[in-house]
Symmetry: C2
Subunit: 341 residues, 2 copies
């Protein structure tokens, strides 16, 4: 059933039927009701492609996954983030397009998306410092919103981020208050803006207590379980090992716990650890007292909010850019305790 058939059935013009369904006021309420009833009865849905062609808007929002190589890491927060965004999109009548793109073809991919009219807007994930994509997208003229920030970028842009610096400063201060003096940082890759900011928070909190950050206690890598394990194991084997860890992801934290266990130590007694917790659904740490002390911020909720932000930009491209800085909660779990004396 298409518009032509539906209007023939009703004895009305396509114009009138279209306008009735789209809420225009120049159609009488009686006709509108009749049209709506018929549309419902025959389960009429306007063809998206035709609609998109006629209106110039596709009602699709794109997410680009840059692919480094065939064996590249998939971001573990990806699934929860997507789910959150997808919820908001469907509430607002948008669809989500996901494109896996070779990292060196990313620019071409963005341009193609625009030219081909594939999407009305984009979500930019995993911004790096001075991320070139922001200027690029402004140049292309595609509305977008960034998940995270790109330190060093001067032009205004729309973003949503967790206050990573503050979260890690608080977590560090918390560990310092517990008497820990040597605190290992098991960070994500610091080309990633969030990881860079986390280190800043960590160093800042140390310096505020007159402690100098020790390069030996700072690691960065892709956040896998294996990396968490290796990093913690190696640091625990140092002559002057840390008594606490600050960890960038629950996935890594699981590796840290393994290393601590294997060293014959007890987490929360001999060694403390605080992790950042994105509240990934399959690693949810609930229960009366959570296993891990964590700076917590839901990535699914971030997805929801950011989706709304792109939609707003699409609807209103001239509006000033919005920024949203979420504070992470500090959740006290069983992985921290006073520093052993």
């Amino acid at each position: 059933m298409n518009l032509k058939e539906l209007s023939a059935l009703l004895g009305l013009s396509q114009t009138t039927v279209s306008r009735a369904l789209n809420g225009y006021t120049d159609v009488s309420e009686a006709t509108r009701a009749r049209v709506q009833a018929a549309a419902k009865l025959h389960d009429y849905r306007p063809n998206t492609r035709a609609q998109a062609l006629a209106t110039g808007r596709s009602r699709v929002i794109g997410h680009v996954i840059p692919k480094i190589s065939t064996h590249a890491m998939v971001n573990p927060i990806f699934a929860d983030f997507i789910t959150g965004a997808g919820e908001t999109y469907s509430q607002h009548g948008y669809e989500m397009l996901i494109s896996v793109v070779d990292v060196d073809e990313e620019e071409k991919a963005y341009r193609a998306m625009k030219r081909r009219g594939l999407v009305d807007g984009l979500i930019v994930s995993a911004p790096r410092r001075n991320d070139p994509r922001i200027e690029l997208l402004d140049g292309i003229g595609l509305p977008y919103a960034v998940h995270g920030r790109a330190t060093g970028t001067t032009r205004p842009y729309t973003w949503l981020d967790v206050n990573n610096r503050r979260a890690f400063a608080r977590a560090t201060a918390f560990l310092l208050d517990l008497g820990h003096r040597r605190i290992g940082l098991i960070n994500g890759l610091e080309v990633m803006d969030f990881a860079h900011r986390r280190r800043q928070g960590y160093e800042e909190a140390l310096r505020a207590r007159g402690l100098a950050p020790d390069p030996e206690l700072m690691r960065q890598d892709e956040m896998t379980e294996g990396y968490g394990w290796r990093a913690a194991r190696d640091m625990l084997a140092l002559p002057d090992p840390p008594t606490a860890f600050l960890v960038s992801s629950v996935v890594c934290m699981l590796g840290v716990r393994r290393a601590v266990d294997e060293a014959g130590l007890v987490l929360g007694r001999d060694v403390s650890a605080v992790t950042h917790d994105d509240q990934l659904s399959y690693l949810r740490d609930d229960g009366p007292v959570p296993a891990f002390t964590a700076t917590r911020s839901s990535v699914r909720e971030a997805g929801q909010r950011l989706a709304r932000m792109v939609i707003d930009r699409i609807d209103n491209p001239e509006a000033p850019h919005r920024q949203d800085l979420l504070e992470a909660d500090l959740i006290i779990g069983r992985s921290t305790g006073p520093a052993p004396s």
Copy 2:
């Protein structure tokens, strides 16, 4: 730059330019070369929406994520699967559309996708036993391919699955060979077809050695770290505890390891465990000797292959349905050893 402008520029008709770019033979090689050069020079990309409208094909493949409630679990394999599929799609000029849909509106969503011409085909994930979606999609007339199988469905359909029954039978036999007699099964939800098959394999292997499956040693739930931990902890506290576990996912396995550690036992010595390993990138278990003995099968590769299968169905809807049964590798790691005597 659109087709009209490009053809004006070349002094050719739109027809000729279009046909030149689309590889028709009724345009001279000289003209074709000239057209291609101009297209490249001006970075011409046909507008997807117009193309879709004209051809009746959108070159988009849909993935539906059924949403149970706001706090529902996101499948941890989702991200890697998507990445695999996305790689294949982009190689073949397809885009991937992901739709988060309330589970009770799934049927409506599929119908809408068809009517609105949103997608040319679909991937069906997480099939349940007697999954109604297969008949539904046949009825709607939308090509699809299923990731997994739906036991009880009689009509032919296209699927790709891991031989879960065989994998778990092998793993069970392996543990039995090591002398284990009480083997706990920490399974996924058994409404899911894969989990049901895994239990079959497990029970089959036990019975082949004259052992009766003990309901006390069989759990099923959503596969989170916490579930793995609780299940293992509870079973280890039984009067006659298992000496080995069979675990449905590395995510659960991490919880199992935690429970084993907390019980003061050593994994691979006091307690053995075999897990299924989807080779999720952020939980990759490499290293010279992997930490976990596992039945291993790459979900990313599954995504790649399945993507190709839908594309084949779209290109050739009358071809017989293809089925693809992948055998999992049994990888011996450090989480298994002879049963303690």
